[in-house]
Subunit: 193 residues, 2 copies
């Protein structure tokens, strides 16, 4: 049982101030409501000895490494989730501990143009559990890439992930279920062994 959790990583995706706090430049409306559940998921992961991977965006202050469709958000004053600035920080209640891993990405998927897959493979990880925001973009792209990369077990905790609207969230959870992804509630996942 313990062996299983040692091979499982919890991904906490994009729980950064610029996506979550009221008035944030790239606010995901459903994000603030899931913070307590994300905190709980991290706590349970730690109790189980799971690897916690903090997936975050950190961009150049001029936006030169941001997707083209978002570059207009960046001026000489910066823009969303600029590296080293407050908006890129994790929201209160979430913090990186020793032994955790921080993975910086510049696109939706945590696997796109990053070394994440190699890191996980050489860390003996074969199962992924995903929380954070937002369901149609970073969550879904990361999940589809994980499936394409042949991770045997990929789970999305349905009430510890969120989108701009409940409808968008549900429609995306539906699609992910259809490619074999598990979608437990947080309490179901906490009871699993």
């Amino acid at each position: 049982m313990a062996e299983k959790w040692k091979k499982t990583a919890l991904f906490v995706i994009d729980m950064q101030k610029d996506f979550v706090l009221p008035g944030a430049p790239l606010l995901v409306d459903g994000a603030a409501a899931i913070v307590p559940d994300v905190i709980k998921a991290v706590q349970v992961a730690r109790e189980r000895g799971m690897l916690v991977v903090w997936v975050v965006r950190e961009h150049d202050s001029l936006g030169r490494d941001v997707e083209l469709f978002r570059r207009h958000l960046y001026t000489e004053k910066g823009g969303p989730t600029v590296k080293g600035r407050e908006g890129a920080e994790l929201v209160e209640g979430l913090e990186i501990h020793e032994g955790d891993y921080k993975l910086v990405k510049t696109r939706f998927s945590a696997f796109f143009a990053t070394h994440l897959h190699s890191f996980l493979q050489t860390s003996g990880i074969d199962s992924l559990v995903i929380v954070g925001i937002q369901t149609p973009n970073c969550i879904r792209q990361t999940v589809f890439d994980a499936v394409a990369l042949d991770y045997p077990s990929v789970s999305v905790i349905v009430d510890a992930t969120a989108a701009k609207t409940p409808e968008v969230h549900s429609a995306n959870i539906f699609d992910m279920k259809n490619i074999g992804v598990a979608t437990p509630t947080l309490s179901e996942w906490c009871e699993a062994n």
Copy 2:
């Protein structure tokens, strides 16, 4: 003429304390000697309005994102070029300015599992000039990837790059010349227009 330099990036590769300073854990013997030439290359690049890209290694304190063959160098006390520690810093005389770009890599090539190519393409860069260490590994792998990625112009400044021995340096410069890479001296490059 100015137009040409705006499309050209200078890569400064791995000029970090843990590779360069006396007694460094991964000392490249020829590295200290080229520091003045690297500083000069950066200065000339800035005068020309070129993009300066600082390519560095920054690893997990436990070494979990290091190549397998180097993981034995990492213990609970850390290892070479751990993110946030002194050994990962640039050597004295080299510093990142506003408008420069810092690219963190975990393998030899600056293009391997990074977003560098996308960043350069959307920044209008088609020419690369490379300085730093060390010739057979990070310099050469980055150069071969740049050629494979079809950058029309790739230059290695022959006296602003270095390896453990002059023989290894020369043998690798020879191989790179043979795939069409330009290998000017620093003074030749400074005189170019």
